[in-house]
Symmetry: C2
Subunit: 126 residues, 2 copies
């Protein structure tokens, strides 16, 4: 089918875009996407799951669940938590977490490029 025929179907007054979501699944269930990445970065900044969650208006419970899922779905933990001790404890992200984040950023870039390419194609600007 030619894109040309779509031009007469779509309303030229409106703007159309191709959009989507992307994530990494482990054993069939999603466990790594933009949310976890932002959470990891906030933990890296603040040094605690608690503060990181608050920073992004997320409940501690949900944040903990995400971190827990992350750690159980990879070979080496992405976050090491410590309860008790000076300042009551805290959490730090590992080298592995940093590597996963940079991989995800590049993957995401390729996805954004795909979306933009398809949007241009839809609006036959290419």
């Amino acid at each position: 089918m030619a894109i040309k025929t779509l031009k007469s179907i779509l309303n030229q007054q409106f703007s159309y875009t191709i959009n989507g979501k992307l994530w990494i699944e482990c054993m069939g269930e999603r466990f790594f996407g933009p949310g976890p990445v932002e959470l990891l970065e906030n933990i890296n900044t603040t040094g605690s799951i608690n503060k990181a969650a608050k920073e992004m208006n997320m409940s501690y419970k949900k944040a903990w669940a995400i971190i827990n899922a992350l750690n159980t779905n990879v070979a080496k933990p992405l976050v090491v938590m410590k309860s008790g001790g000076e300042k009551g404890g805290g959490s730090v992200i590992t080298k592995e977490a940093r590597q996963l984040i940079t991989y995800h950023k590049k993957l995401r870039k390729r996805f954004i490029y795909f979306l933009e390419k398809e949007t241009k194609k839809l609006n036959h600007l290419s």
Copy 2:
């Protein structure tokens, strides 16, 4: 970052895949994806929104809302409804709907290819 370093992070006992969702937005809100496509195809088969909705375990209310959104987001209607008359009425999909469906199928194929390519890359089988 080299994919190679990821190999030591991921658990080799588990299987990882890149997955996602894709849709078309009009004026910033999603209005066309796999759901509407299935609904349109069911209307085409059954000749009625009612039967089409039942076929896919969807409430008539929701089906009607989808169809209504579709029709208001394009230049020419995708579904023409008729209430009353022989058999009480019914609905048919237009040529434009068929064209949008085939466009969507091809778009979806390209997306699936993207996902498979990225999954292979992640598992460094390529």
